[in-house]
Amino acid sequence: MFSEQAAQRAHTLLSPPSASNATFARVPVVTYTNSSQPFRLGERSFSRQYAHIYATRLIQMRPFLVSRAQQRWGTVLAVLGSAGDDGKFLVEDHCFAGLAPQKPACPLDTDRFVLLVSGLGLGGGGGESLLGTQLLVDVVTGQLGDEGEQCSAAHVSRVILAGNLLSHNTQSRDSINKAKYLTKKTQAASVEAVKMLDEILLQLSASVPVDVMPGEFDPTNYTLPQQPLHPCMFPLATAYSTLQLVTNPYQATIDGVRFLGTSGQNVSDIFRYSSMEDHLEILEWTLQVRHISPTAPDTLGCYPFYKTDPFIFPECPHVYFCGNTPSFGSKIIQGPEDQTVLLVAVPDFSTTQTACLVNLRSLACQPISFSGFGAEDEDLGGLGLGP
């Protein structure tokens, strides 16, 4: 993994200055295709009813369900049961659409990493997380660490920021409740936070391709699919072509590995309304159901797609992630048709100071955490290394 590879080179930095210092070239992008087109909204019209949307979804899902049910029971029904005397339908068994078919990923010969981060939470007022964010940027851009680590960091071919770049605090609604004359000269809290984000994105995009997904607290539309953040907010960083502002949900094929992920609104919504406790479990369940956000538009705001539902999985991804979970989690699941999916629950960086490194070659995921030191850290508690 990342650390072992990093440790292989000799330690050279606790020594007098040497004449030459190694510089590593960032691994070039071999193949990248952004497949998020279905999530882009063109002309917006909100004149359809919910029933219309559900009907579309049903129609679209029907073929998969039919084939699954036939495989399982040999009947066309997806819900197995019997009609009772009082007109009620007793359900005996049900079956889901299951995993979609998956195209195999082309094997890679060298280790390549994709860094997944979410919940930077800028503008939240927490100084501790700012140092962590800076350390993260420094590791990825190759400033921190010994030569081995810098060499490994050069193999990070992409960084995906999965939402909640701004903190919940920047969404203060005071300006709506207060009188105009009181709030006339005050700036929205998100302005400072966006400036800070712009600087961070500038540092990152000067060194690595970055994909920025909006999240629940970011300045874009509320309903899913969230449209990309506008480039006018990042005047410094958009100068680089390595910066890409993308939708939420986001899917792309990076170096032959298909990624699909959200900023976490779908999973947290299910978490809120069901008894499932583990975010990773919920993630797996959505994959089994073959729908990214089944609770939309019921309890989760979603654009009324009445022609096609883009949240149904057309094919199974290799890496399926969701951002802003309370803790890190990753799991590999196997499907009935030889599908292999790596599920990653990307934790909220502002609270956990942890990001995820996905190895594209081995489809393994390693958490990477950052810490400084504080006055109260007696037993290395901040590092998580305590007893």
């Binding site: 072992e4 930095l13 606790l14 020594s15 007098p16 210092n21 190759g142 500038l202 000067a206 955490s369």
Partner: protein, 495 residues
């Protein structure tokens, strides 16, 4: 041992400070004396900062980050061997992996020296250890380290990955055609911007609103001031080669440029100086020409001046700068208008009626209001000599365009309308569609605003005999209201 013994000098280490600059900053003495103490005015560090992080050292000396880390380590070792009694506290960066919750977690941490061994022992695999920072006092928490890093990063945003160990070939700036022009109009110019970039922005902004234009012109004015100050001797030499007539008013107009601060201010604000400038319109033009001739040789001196050292001089030059600034602007304005007397007339009016809704007046308005702004601004933007010309050429375009627009063009507005139709299934569908609609109401108001105030409103209405509707009356009413509103807010501001 001197700074160049580190292995960098004029032949190596492109992008850093030259050795003479290092010695100016006291870097030569870095290894001899325990200079890691705040010493205002001299010494190694700015007076508020008391930690030296590897990043700060890397940007300041212009060296690879790894070399900076090694330098810090070497310094610590030597100091401790010498045992000079100076207390040095060191923080290290440790990274490696350990097993946690069934995962192999990679940890990256900044730790104090006393905790270093403990942390290392807990890691299963240690990937890297290096010095993060050195400071004199024991740090309670890592907050100040972040502040130091952030400060040095802010002043080097444009080349933030220059000294890093990873270079990305794909990270190329987008071609200007790709990025929309609106992005160029943003005001937050990074302090270290290449010369051509500044001039490019000026030319693209020529058609934009006047506000960004003036902000990028102001730094030019400051640098122009520096240029004239530094080469004032060259100026004197040039003067002597001109004819007598020019020399006479050179004395009158260059007089304010002289370093005598007190004279400058009183001359600047005194009406006598103003009248002098106005009367000598022709002479102003020639002085401007002379200035243009001077600028090419002056531009050679620019790179030398654009060093941070000039920051200190800027406070002294702030006031003469304003004077210079205003002169330059006035000269440019004069060159533009064909009718010079009209320009003077307008200028006179501008002095008295600051609230004219004219683009030119807004430039003048800002200058007396913000003397402190120049000191705050960073002085490094250069005065590219070709750029005044393109700017001058583009300046005449907005005012005439505005005038003709208001009078001749018929505006088309996009209006949201509901359309009801029957679709293929026989269902009635109502949809909201944007349609362009020609609208003359807004055109009236626009025209009212752009006409200058001393023309009575009735005149403007008469100029459009065809549109005698409620429209013009609305327009006048609106304009009257607009004027009145301006007065009202003025009343509040004075409060």
């Amino acid at each position: 041992m001197r700074a160049c013994d580190w292995g960098f000098g004029p032949s190596e280490g492109g992008g850093g400070l030259d050795p003479s600059a290092c010695s100016r900053m006291g870097l030569v003495q870095w290894r001899r004396s325990p200079l890691l103490v705040p010493q205002a005015g001299r010494g190694l560090l700015p007076h508020r900062q008391i930690q030296v992080t590897y990043k700060w050292l890397s940007y300041t000396l212009g060296v690879h980050v790894n070399q900076a880390k090694q330098m810090l380590y070497d310094y610590v070792e030597r100091k401790r061997k010498e045992n000079s009694g100076a207390q040095l506290h060191v923080t290290y960066l440790v990274s490696g992996s350990l097993i946690q919750n069934g995962h192999s977690c990679h940890k990256v941490a900044v730790v104090r020296e006393d905790k270093l061994e403990a942390v290392k022992s807990k890691l299963a695999v240690t990937a890297s250890v290096h010095v993060y920072s050195i400071q004199k006092a024991m740090l309670k928490d890592s907050g100040p380290l972040f502040n130091t890093d952030y400060d040095i990063l802010k002043s080097n945003l444009q080349n933030c990955s220059k000294f890093s160990a990873i270079q990305c070939a794909a990270a190329v700036p987008r071609a200007p055609a790709e990025s929309s022009s609106s992005e160029k109009l943003e005001q937050s110019d990074p302090p270290v911007s290449p010369e051509m970039q500044a001039s490019d922005e000026l030319t693209t902004n020529g058609h934009g609103p006047p506000v960004p234009k003036q902000s990028s012109q102001q730094p030019k004015g400051i640098m122009g001031m520096f240029a004239s100050k530094a080469a004032s001797k060259a100026q004197d030499a040039n003067k002597e080669t001109k004819t007598e007539a020019k020399e006479v008013m050179n004395a009158s107009s260059v007089g304010p440029k002289a370093p005598g601060k007190g004279n400058v201010i009183s001359n600047f604000f005194g009406k006598a100086a103003m009248n002098k400038l106005k009367v000598n319109l022709d002479s102003e033009q020639e002085v401007k020409e002379e200035k243009k001739v001077e600028q090419p040789p002056l531009s050679v001196t620019e790179p030398k001046l654009a060093a941070p050292v000039d920051l200190k001089k800027s406070s002294k030059k702030a006031e003469p700068v304003r004077m210079q600034q205003k002169e330059k602007k006035r000269r440019k304005q004069m060159e533009l208008s064909d009718d010079e007397t009209k320009e003077t007339e307008n200028m006179k009016k501008k002095r008295r009626r600051i609230k004219l809704p004219e683009s030119d007046s807004s430039e003048d308005e800002v200058i007396p209001d913000s003397p402190g702004a120049y000191e705050a601004e960073s002085p490094s933007p250069p005065p590219p000599s070709p750029s005044p010309e393109p700017v001058l050429k583009t300046e005449p375009e907005p005012p005439p365009v505005k005038g003709s627009d208001g009078e001749n063009k018929r505006k088309r507005k996009r209006v949201l309308k509901s359309k009801t139709f029957t679709d293929e299934e026989g269902c009635m569908v109502t949809e909201k569609v944007y349609e362009s609609e020609s609208c003359t109401d807004s055109e009236e108001e626009l025209k009212m605003k752009t006409s200058s105030v001393h023309r009575p409103p009735a005149m403007a209405v008469k100029k459009e005999p065809k549109e005698e509707r409620k429209g013009p009356k609305k327009g006048t009413a609106a304009m009257g209201k607009a004027n009145r509103q301006v007065a009202i807010t003025g009343f509040f501001q004075r409060k």
